[in-house]
Amino acid sequence: MMQMPKLLFFLLGRTALLVGCGFLVPLLAALVERSPETLLFAMAALFSLALGILLCALCRHHRSRLSIREGAAFLLLAWLELALLGMVPYLASGELSLLEAFLESVSGFTTTGITCLRPEASHLLVLWRSVSQWIGGLNILVLLTTVLPQVSGCFGISFAVQKSIHSGQLMVSRMERTAFTVVRIYVALTCIGCLLYTLGGLPLFDAVNLAMVTLSTGGCYVPSAGGLLLNGWLIAAIFFGMLVSCGNFLLYWQSVTQQRVHQLLKDAELRSFLLLILGAGAFVSWHLWRLGIYSIPDSLLYGFFHVVSFAGTTGLFADRIADWPDFDKFVLFLLPFVGGCIGSLAGGFKMLRFIILGKTALAEMSRTLHPHMVVHIGVDGSTVPQKIIGRILSFFFLYFIAFFAAVLVISLSGISELESMNIAAGCLTSAGQLSLLDGGPETILGLSAAAKLFCCFLMILGKLEIFSFLIVLQSSYLQLQRGRW
């Protein structure tokens, strides 16, 4: 008889508590405005909190270690739980149908940024959407510092964080400590962002929303007043917010705790990422200017803004990018696959892995001449073990297969090849606004119910880094085979 995985439920209870606390934000806003939606959010908050407390209380006496199987299952269940709890307000307000509410909620928590809400929807729901993106970002950070390294850390995460987190069995006490530190940084950054946006001239409501969606790389928010590009100050602030969210949070933590902020810029991954943004931004700006779409300052502004926004899988956009030339759209399509530094909130394959793979590819050229040569690949002065390189290589394959399979399934709903590629890439890398590159918001809304569900699955799959999902599949298959269930 299998033991009840009490720890798993305990952790799920905590996740529910997190959502419950999240509901307090729109609840507070509703109370201040005396809006009729107070009851709705109060109910949702109460339900989540109750569930959380119940689970935590019931499974108080748990083991202090999380096995790999439980870890993988937790990753999957946590996202599902977040999505299910988070869809309550959309559903209860009657704005969205069941499926749309689920899609909205999944897309919010996975920081994808696809939205089904009409522009004229209640601003409290919009606030909740931003809060859900922010909580999603928080959850990513918590998982990243706790469960992920153990479950799919073999793909380079462990290598990247080995200095800050010791690998091995997971202890709950350490989970709490690590998570708490990173979360503090996240909260601090959001507050700073909020402050900067207010100084930039946005009303408080807009500033709070925008800070939450930029720092979490969700990117699904359009300020009501006058768009994103009000003045130079605000643009710089948004730019900065998006950039910060694609950096390595573990590195931030390290440089804050060790008080060596200047070390940040010595990080090879961050440097290459900045270089990539610089290169891609310059390329896109030049192309936009050459085709005469914008004037020089405008093309620089729009070029760099969108490059940063998509490279960090945030997906904020300031202009109708669907009208852009194919080349710039293709660059924007490719960038989310890179998707920020390892240990950031951004989705995608991650810069560090690309650096390692790029270096191995170059080394392979000289290996053709000297077949018995031993090649060392170093990042930041430490050698990457051959085993990790091999695993990152297979992860690349896994990513490609997952992407292509997703494109095939989505194309079954009868949309064009490019649209299905955009949607699949958007869901998998959590840069959902890619679906707006060809066609508009109606592309996603017009998908069949099955395709929409599949998109939800893809978004969660992207957040699980695919491999964790395979672990869940494989271990449940083994359980099934042994007849334990």
Partner: protein
Amino acid sequence: MNLQVVSYILGRLSLATATALLFPFVLALARTETSCLAFAGAILSSILLGGLLMTSGRLISAKLSVREGIAITGLGWIMVTTLGMLPYSLGGYLPVLEGIFESISGFTGTGATVIDSIETLPSSILLWRSMTHWFGGLGIVVIFIALLPQVGRGAVHMFNAESTGPTSDRVLPRIKATALALFIIYVVFTLAAWIAFMACGLDPLTAIDHAFSTTATGGFSTYDTSVAHFNNPALEGWMTFFMVLCGGNFGLYFTVWKKGPRVLWKNSEFKAYLVMLTAATLLITWNLMDGMGFSGTESFRYAAFQVASISSTTGFVSNDFDVWPSFSKLLIILLMFIGGCAGSTSGGIKVTRFVLLFKMVYSILWQKLHPQMLAHVKMNGQEMPENVLYSVARFFFVYIMLCVLWAFLMICDGVPALAAIGVSVSTMGSCGPGFGMTGATCTYSGLPEFSKALTCVSMLLGRLEMFTLLAMLQPAFWRQKKGW
């Protein structure tokens, strides 16, 4: 590196090309076509170049090293494709860049053409187009090793630099015997295809053109509308059979010949290949019935032919797949990526690499769940060494990255996105047709100049599995003295 040996062997290769050019020359003479002058010029240039290279180099009995092997194969391909374009350009049929494109497309077995009206060309030129397929299909160097005596010891490095697949296994201990065995199988297949096509009602010349094109998994046809021109189910059936056959491993066929057909069912790659073909055919059949309103048999006929044609990277077209539903088109792109089996005449990443990569992912999964267990990756009952696995995964990465790079550059050059993606995948996999402006019923003539040059590079890299040519880009490669 020993440049003298390289020069000598390249000289002989050039003479061999001159011999190959004799066939269309004789045909041109017999039919008194205007192209005979062009062929005479091409033969003369090849002989001159060959003589020059042979006198400037000399065959020392020193063993060829990896570098010389790579240099001979890489430079040999560039030289032969350049000589191969002479008939097109000297005869005034194509400008220089287009001529080179057509020649590279021929030798690499891609089958993409820049000629908008093929049917107006003289039959000798058409024969030469198909012949370039045939020589490039099995490999210029393999045929060269098989037919010409004594190319120096260490020919194995030349062989390895050209052969496709993660490991180049020899079916016979001696490299010359291996090459000869492969060549004989190749000739037998070609003859069988020729007879079969003639039995389907093609005249001998058209039949041999298509037989060359089919067994080399090239894709040049002598008609603008490709195989759709014949509208002949029996012919399509035979073509499907031969394309599937030639997408399989020739070394395996040799073993079948020696040990009986049971070997086939023990080969993981061949099984995976057949499963892939069946699955893709069924999916596309279903999708065509659903999306295009074809009847069941019609859908199956088109689907089976197109799947065989694309997965063996031939590129024949029996129905304009550019208007098919997007699911079928995307599946076709995936098949272009995968390609045929290792050691076949087809291109692409190869089925065996995909099988290995899937097994590799599975072994990581297994290892994660059972940390105490040793996870091996086995192929055909043999354990694969880790460095082979890693090099397969590296190959995959570089392949995908190059495809993305070509697409990126072509879109920058002004090609529409889907067409550019199609062209880059199609030419890297030496397949041929793409989508949109380079689609099934169109040619590559509408591409901008820069993109055309790019596709030439892409086709050569794809055919020689990248690293042969990429290794030649390093300055260290050309250094005369060995480092140690």
